[in-house]
């Protein structure tokens, strides 16, 4: 079997890619997508632990199910907000949205 460490490392890499996306991408849809990638990386962790972790049990998979649910809900709300914002401001460039500052 593949060592769990590799799964964890993959998750870490994906998490950081997602994080980097959140921090630097200018397209808001992509930013939201990056969050999804981060959440996915967590799921990899959980499923990996659930399957081949030192204390493998089913809870990890249940946990990941909940995360998927939450991710969906969050994506829905996030995109709804994005759409409302786009209607208001006609832009989905992150940089443009800095009315609130200082």
């Amino acid at each position: 079997m593949v060592p769990i460490t590799l799964f964890l490392a993959l998750a870490a890499i994906l998490f950081c890619i997602g994080l980097y996306g959140v921090l630097t991408r200018r397209h808001l849809v992509i930013v939201l997508a990056s969050i999804e990638i981060m959440l996915n990386s967590v799921n990899i962790n959980l499923v990996a632990f659930s399957a081949i972790g030192p204390f493998a049990n089913i809870s990890g998979q249940v946990f990941s199910l909940f995360i998927i649910t939450v991710a969906a809900a969050e994506a829905a709300v996030g995109l709804a907000i994005l759409i409302a914002l786009y209607r208001n401001r006609n832009s989905i460039d992150v940089i443009k949205h800095d009315l609130l500052r200082w």
């Binding site: 997602g18 967590v42 939450v70 709804a80 907000i81 914002l85 208001n88």
Partner: protein
């Protein structure tokens, strides 16, 4: 005991609240999309009060559902605080929504109630998954609430910032949790806590990362420096009652889970995090107060003030391993004080800024001439926030101060008290506007709606009574054995 043979009646308050939230939503559905629906707001307040009564009577004997949902006095008090807080937020909303008709009223109230439900689940849960779900109910509802003024650019922008950063924060919490689960095979905080010392000994680095990732996420939710950056923007953009909700209910619920996680999960390894929490508390107090100094926007100012207050509340968390119950007493007492003074202040801010049409501090100019009661109440709230005597805030702060000193963290206490003095500047800047500046263009008398009046009066009364006779609450607290842990 497994979940199947648990006493599910313990969940009655949550279930009743959920049912009532759905009822609110249904009634809203049946009464059309638009228009003012103050009765829904009143119904919501009623729901919350019913729930509060249920909490008080159903939960006072304590109990637990398996090891994942604890009905202890800690949860009970937090739930009561949250319920009363939300009720007051809704009272503030009644007036606010009256002035902002584009907000969908029924949905607004039902989402608030859902969020409350989430907060209740949060404070009771002793399980990573339940806790996370509760947190997400609260968070996602909050994202939506912030963006409820959807034609308002500030509101949607605030919601966007909140949802993105909040989502990332959630990811951090989850990433941290995934290791807790993976290395223990359990999601129960109690079980995790039992093996934590060995776990930390075995997997030091990854556990540190896990701990700190969770801290980053929770730190975001309770807006402590350096994870606080969203707070001013979101607070500014959100509808004022939502700002009040965020700065009070979200924050207090956040503190509840921080306490829960750190006491249940990490108490055994407190030497790993006490110093970190202490440093974060110090940084939070310093930065929150200092940035607030030059703020001119009331809501932003309250945001920074809230950050600073979070710093004060973090002090007893840092002191917790050393003084135990005492620390919980402090946090709960200060939470009550914070709830009352902040909500009271927000009630006034909501009224005044809506009347003036601007969030600028100058909208408070000459308030004393326009509405003396409002100005005096606001003064009491601000004085309490600043921590001056005869107010709940003073007792609360003194309390925390004692605790910090007792935990041998005098340096933290010193920073706290010095920063309190710094905070005089901006709190009294408010007071200066109200008392020492002539009213601007609009100087007619300001009518205070009944609902706001009620909120302000309650907040005022509690702030003063707890400031003079704190033992009303403290004596009750002293009879509680918070987690049955200490």
């Amino acid at each position: 005991m497994t979940a199947f043979d648990a006493n599910w009646s313990l969940l009655t308050p949550e279930m009743v609240l959920a049912a009532l939230a759905l009822l609110v939503f249904t009634i809203d559905f049946m009464t059309g999309i638009h228009g003012k629906k103050p009765f829904i707001g009143k119904l919501s307040v009623l729901s919350l009060l019913v729930t509060a009564v249920l909490v008080l009577f159903m939960n006072n004997s304590g109990g637990q559902i398996a090891d994942l949902y604890l009905i202890d006095s800690f949860a009970m008090v937090f739930k009561l605080i949250i319920l009363v807080g939300v009720a007051m937020v809704i009272m503030i909303s009644l007036h606010y929504l009256d002035r902002n008709e584009e907000i969908y009223q029924g949905e607004y109230y039902s989402i608030l109630l859902f969020a409350t439900l989430g907060a209740m689940i949060m404070v009771s849960s002793a399980d990573l998954i339940t806790l996370f779900i509760g947190l997400e109910i609260l968070s996602i509802s909050s994202y939506a609430l912030v963006g409820f003024k959807k034609h308002h650019r500030h509101s949607t922008e605030a919601a966007l910032k909140y949802v993105i950063l909040g989502g990332a924060a959630s990811a951090f919490i989850l990433y941290g949790m995934s290791f807790l689960y993976g290395l223990t095979g359990s999601t129960s905080l109690l079980e995790i806590g039992q093996v934590m010392p060995t776990l930390f000994a075995d997997y030091t680095v990854i556990m540190t990362i896990s701990l700190i990732f969770m801290l980053v996420g929770f730190g975001f939710k309770i807006s402590i420096v350096p994870f606080h950056m969203w707070a001013p923007d979101v607070y500014e953009g959100a509808p004022t009652p939502v700002t009040a909700f965020l700065s009070v209910v979200s924050k207090i619920a956040g503190f509840a889970i921080v306490l829960r996680v750190f006491t249940f999960g990490f108490l055994g390894v407190h030497e790993e995090w006490v110093m970190i929490i202490a440093v974060l508390a110090a940084v939070t107090m310093v930065l929150g107060n200092i940035i607030a100094l030059t703020q001119k926007n009331t809501k932003r100012l309250m945001a920074y003030s809230g950050i600073a207050q979070a710093g004060y509340l973090l002090v007893p968390v840092a002191a917790l391993p050393f003084i135990g119950t005492f620390s919980i007493n402090m946090i709960l007492f200060y939470s009550i004080a914070y709830l009352m003074m902040t909500l009271g202040a927000f009630a006034v801010i909501s009224l005044v800024t809506e009347d003036a049409g601007t969030n600028d501090l100058s909208s408070f100019a000459g308030l004393f001439q326009r509405a003396p009661y409002l100005a005096i109440s606001m003064t009491v709230f601000l004085v309490s926030l600043a921590g001056l005597p005869l107010t709940a805030g003073f007792i609360g702060k003194a309390h925390i101060f004692f605790g910090a000193a007792a935990a041998d963290m005098l340096w933290l206490a010193i920073i706290m008290i010095v920063m309190s003095v710094v905070s005089f500047f901006y709190y009294f800047g408010f007071i200066k506007q109200m008392f020492m500046t002539a009213p601007k263009a609009n100087d007619e008398e300001l009518k205070v709606p009944t609902s706001l009046n009620a909120v302000i009066t309650v907040a005022l009364a509690v702030t003063l009574i707890l400031g003079i006779l704190p033992n009303i609450v403290l004596d009750v607290f002293n009879t509680f054995n918070w987690f049955a842990l200490f």
